[in-house]
C-alpha cells in the first residue's frame, strides 16, 4: 500500500494507460482511481433503458452477446465484492469498507465528473427472475449509500441488476465468484 502511495502522481498518471479491469479489493485508492479513469469517448453513449430491456427480455438466456451489454466489456471498470445479508438489500458491515473505497475513488477529481454504472450480479443458484430483481435492488442500495452517506451526486450513478445473466465464470455459473458488483465508467456526466 505505502509502496503504491510512494509512486506518486506522475506514476499514477502513467497508469491511466494500464489495464481496464481490476479487482477493487486488491487495489489502493490511486489504482482504483486510475483504473476507472481511462474514459473512452468512442461510440454512442450507453443507454441504460436498452440494457434493462435486453436483460428483462432474456432472463435465463444470458446477456454477454447482446448488443448493449457486450459494449460494457470494453469500458473502464472494476469488480468489487460487496456482501449482503441473505435475501436482503442490506450491505454487510464487513463490506462497508468496499463501499467507502468506491466513494473515495469517485470523489477524486479524475473521476468526479464522470458517470458510473453500478451493476449487481448474483450467481446462478435460485430462480433467474428473482436473481434479477434482487441484484437490481442491491445495485440500487449501493447507489443509495454512495449518493447519501458519501454525497456522490445521484445523477452520476445508475444502479442496474443483471441477475445471473453475466457470470464472470460462464463455465461454472453457480460459483460464488459470480456474485459481484461491477463499477463501470460510462463517460462524462451531464
Amino acid at each position: 500500500m505505502s509502496v503504491i502511495r510512494n509512486l506518486g502522481y506522475g506514476a499514477a498518471l502513467a497508469m491511466l494507460l494500464a489495464t481496464t479491469t481490476a479487482n477493487a479489493q486488491d487495489l489502493s485508492e490511486t489504482q482504483l482511481v486510475n483504473t476507472l479513469g481511462q474514459v473512452s469517448n468512442e461510440g454512442a453513449p450507453i443507454d441504460v433503458a436498452l440494457l434493462v430491456q435486453e436483460v428483462t427480455e432474456n432472463v435465463g438466456q444470458g446477456v454477454a452477446n447482446l448488443p448493449n451489454w457486450s459494449r460494457l466489456a470494453g469500458m473502464p471498470q472494476l469488480t468489487v465484492e460487496i456482501n449482503f445479508e441473505n435475501n436482503s438489500i442490506a450491505i454487510e458491515p464487513s463490506s462497508y469498507r468496499a463501499v467507502g473505497q468506491i466513494a473515495d475513488a469517485l470523489h477524486h477529481p479524475i473521476l468526479s465528473k464522470n458517470k458510473f454504472l453500478v451493476v449487481g450480479h448474483t450467481n446462478a443458484t435460485g430462480d433467474p427472475k428473482h436473481n434479477l430483481k434482487l441484484s437490481d435492488e442491491r445495485a440500487n442500495a449501493i447507489v443509495e449509500a454512495l449518493s447519501t452517506t458519501f454525497a456522490i451526486p445521484a445523477s452520476h450513478l445508475v444502479g442496474i441488476g443483471v441477475g445471473s445473466e453475466l457470470p464472470v465464470d460462464p463455465a461454472d455459473p453457480k460459483a460464488p465468484v459470480n456474485r459481484r458488483v461491477q463499477l463501470i465508467n460510462i463517460g462524462k456526466a451531464n
Partner: protein
C-alpha cells in the same frame, strides 16, 4: 454569574473542540466506515438487521436502539459521521483555498483535475493552507 461561568466554560470547550477537529488530519471514507463496521458491526447485526448504510438509516437505527447499543459504538458513530463530513468539506474547499496558488503557479491550466496535478508538482512553493487542504481532501 456562576451560571455564565459554566456556559462560558462549555462554549470554550466547544471552540477548543472544533479547533481540535479542524487541525486533525482527515481520514478516507473507506477508513471511516471500516471503523464503523469494526466498532458497530455487532450492534448493527443485532439491532439493525435489514437496515442499509444509505440515507442515515444505520445512524437512525443505532440512535433508536441506543440503550442496547454498546457505548463504544455510540461514540464511534459520532466520530465516523464527523469524519465523513470533514473529508467532504475539505474536498469541497480545495479549489477555493488554493485559488491564489493556482493563479500564481498554474497559469493557463484548466480543469480541477489538471489544476490539482499542477499544485501537486508545485508543493514546495504552495501556501501552507493550500497544501493542508489538498492533504485533508485525501488527494496527495
Amino acid at each position: 454569574m456562576r451560571r455564565y461561568g459554566i456556559v462560558g466554560a462549555i462554549a470554550l470547550a466547544v471552540v477548543v473542540g472544533q479547533a481540535g477537529l479542524a487541525a486533525a488530519q482527515t481520514i478516507s471514507f473507506a477508513d471511516a466506515v471500516t471503523t464503523l463496521a469494526k466498532e458497530c458491526g455487532a450492534d448493527i447485526k443485532k439491532h439493525c438487521a435489514g437496515v442499509n448504510l444509505g440515507n442515515n438509516q444505520i445512524q437512525q437505527c443505532l440512535e433508536k436502539n441506543q440503550a442496547a447499543v454498546s457505548p463504544t459504538c455510540t461514540s464511534t458513530l459520532a466520530t465516523v459521521t464527523a469524519s465523513i463530513q470533514q473529508r467532504l468539506a475539505a474536498q469541497a474547499s480545495v479549489m477555493q483555498v488554493c485559488s491564489t496558488d493556482a493563479h500564481q503557479h498554474c497559469k493557463g491550466v484548466v480543469g480541477e483535475y489538471n489544476i490539482l496535478g499542477c499544485l501537486l508538482k508545485t508543493v514546495r512553493i504552495d501556501s501552507g493552507k493550500c497544501n493542508q487542504a489538498i492533504t485533508d481532501a485525501g488527494w496527495r
